[in-house]
Symmetry: C2
Subunit: 210 residues, 2 copies
Amino acid sequence: MQLREPGVCRVDVARGELIGATNRYVKTLADLDGLYEDTVAFDAAKRTLGDSVVYEVTDYKPSANSGDMIIGVTRMRPGKIGREYFLTRGHIHANANRPEMYYGESGCGVMLLESPEGEIRTVEIGPRTICYVPPFWIHRSANTGAKDLVMTFAYPADSGQDYGIIEEAGGMKSRVVDDGKGGWMLVDNARYLGRPASRVERVYASASAS
Amino acid sequence: MQLREPGVCRVDVARGELIGATNRYVKTLADLDGLYEDTVAFDAAKRTLGDSVVYEVTDYKPSANSGDMIIGVTRMRPGKIGREYFLTRGHIHANANRPEMYYGESGCGVMLLESPEGEIRTVEIGPRTICYVPPFWIHRSANTGAKDLVMTFAYPADSGQDYGIIEEAGGMKSRVVDDGKGGWMLVDNARYLGRPASRVERVYASASAS
């Protein structure tokens, strides 16, 4: 049998990149339109910084097959829109019964997790912290520090990403904001709609069908 | 649905441990009887150092279910038996279509990989190196440095370990030894028997049955 060759990559923490990656993508501030609480502040920032990269992902993807794993590095710039920290778009795995591991390399941030039913959890991430995102949790990260937040991650190659689950609900239930005292806190997302039971069931069904 | 809570651990690189682990095991020198080329040197070392820990594994295991991942840290002492570097017992995944990620934290070593058919590969691991072990590769690591080799790892929770595949074949095809010039090299394992086609087929069948 012709086996896949072993892979070798290197995490460049200072650059926030995976050397030896097979894929790279970036999200600019303009790409994140609609995510933030303060739309006036967002529009003002977009006019001057719309093309700025907010986060960059480099990853090593052997294949999309069940039985492979995708490994990568994400680097997020520090910053806020109004009081709300820069964040990733967030997702649940399209094959929802798939986990993800995030591993802090430098900087500090918060992993914001939401169950399909709308329960919120947070995990603070700093250097050498591992956050295990179990199956079925919607997740997004926010950079709550003054420096780049760099994390290494790994997840099964057949996971896929469903971004729509957040958009349909008007965002995640909570937002990660500056508490004005040098730290972060959660506030309710006033635009949050929640999701109907049928949508929740569809998440769990996507897993049992796989 | 009752979801598993998100996990938080921390890699203590200096101690070579995962803080927040759910499991821990150690292998002493005596546990590694039969692995080394130089049995006279091994027996001599065992008399004085038999109880010494050669390597220690701490890991976080949410469950053994498909859809979960196990994350851990391995710490291997530096040392040699004769010219052969300290090594792990090695394994193939019992559900052989499962990969593993190793991530160098400190020290330096070599990941030795063997396909079921007996092809050998090596990957050098140092700090921030990621070695991706694709499905179906037998793998073991050797500490080729003068300090502890510490690696973080992650693999699917339903992988399992089959150690017998190495024992049945009289070890792996190659050994990682001191080249006498400050580096390492591979030499043939004189006790290597290889494995019959039926055994190779059984590896691939274990995957398709899963």
